[in-house]
Amino acid sequence: MGRPGRWRLVVSGHGAPAWNLALDDALLALAREGDVPTLRLYAWQPHALSLGRFQDAAPSTLHLAPGTAEIVRRPTGGGAILHADEVTYSVVVPGGHPLFPKDPMEGYSRFHAPLVRALRGLGAVVRDRGGDAPPHARPSGFFCFEEAASCDVIAGTGEKLLGSAQRRTRTGFLQHGSLPLDGSAGARFGATSLSAACGRRVDRREAEAAIVTAFEETLDLAFDLAEPTAAELAFAEDRVARRYGTEAWTRRGIDASRRAGARPGAR
């Protein structure tokens, strides 16, 4: 039985794009009431462009030079993200846990709070609650970082600094997101970077350490550093083979005109 206040920390380092998504999916799928929540930190090798769960794959070829990034499809909603030099986080909370968010906004607000604290601790200028942006930004652009909602983390310049997305099942909640460390790769997709927001180069080790400390302080918890379980690794391997590593899954998007956010006049 997991006690509130105790979390698992999984530091995965660089992983292949399909593997990265499959492992987040495994952490969510195998989460059960009574388990402790997990914070996972990871990175991407090779670089990748991840599409939202139902996003049309076709525009990705317009934005990417061939061979520069692998295209994968996330289990979570939202817009496309270019994962280059960044820290990626995922939070998985099992159903029934006191920190299980009752709706998407509560999740963003709860788990962005420690991230904002970490960013400020590193010296970044971060706006409060995304400034004047609406609570939910309708997905109009192709890239996640092109639009900001009040639940997003926005740098002092007004550019989005952290892009997150969620999935919810009966037994668990997953929120993962991307924090660009260096602006060179993501700049043309609307993102700023941690180094730009801090006015100095911040490396992965420093950023990850700040995030871990900020989670502990903000949410009053203590981490146990651990590897994924054998069951989670086996589930993830299966998901790479059957889903995230397959062309059928990656191409299985919906034409933008059929998604409500893209329709002019749709609420």
């Binding site: 963003y108 639940c151 409500a260």
Partner: protein, 137 residues
């Protein structure tokens, strides 16, 4: 939250699940949808992915997915059976689900394979206790 007002709109003649789906049984056919509570917590809906006619469903397993702004949620089949009708208008007019979740916002009709599963579903009173508890969190 005007819980009392929400309670009064939930039909007495439906069965419910802990995961916020509703079931209307007519003969061996079950019409399935998501409740007002689920629709309001997901807020702005973006996309609905429904199964196809002749797909099979298993009680308790995910059979559809719904995307709101920046979040995707699984929808679970309350009963085992075969999909015999799909509300093809719902994905193109998600307002139907937000506005009229128990009527025009229905999702699929399933031909029941195991009628005994209906015994495991909740009455409106049992469901409203769950909603009340979740609203307190």
């Amino acid at each position: 939250v005007a819980v009392k007002q929400e309670e009064s709109m939930r039909p007495q003649n439906l069965k419910y699940t802990k995961t916020h789906e509703w079931v209307k049984v007519e003969g061996d056919t079950a019409t399935i949808g998501i409740t007002d509570f689920a629709a309001s917590h997901l807020s702005d809906l973006v996309y609905l992915d429904l199964p196809e006619i002749q797909d099979s469903t298993t009680a308790g397993k995910c059979f559809a997915e719904i995307e709101s702004v920046k979040a995707v949620a699984d929808i679970y089949a309350p009963v085992t059976g075969e999909v015999i009708a799909v509300n093809t208008e719902a994905p193109d007019d998600l307002e139907k689900i937000s506005r009229d979740p128990f009527g025009a916002g229905w999702l699929v009709k399933i031909k029941l394979a195991k009628t005994e599963e209906l015994r495991d579903l909740l009455t409106v009173e049992q469901y409203e206790k769950i909603v009340e508890e979740e609203s307190k969190k």
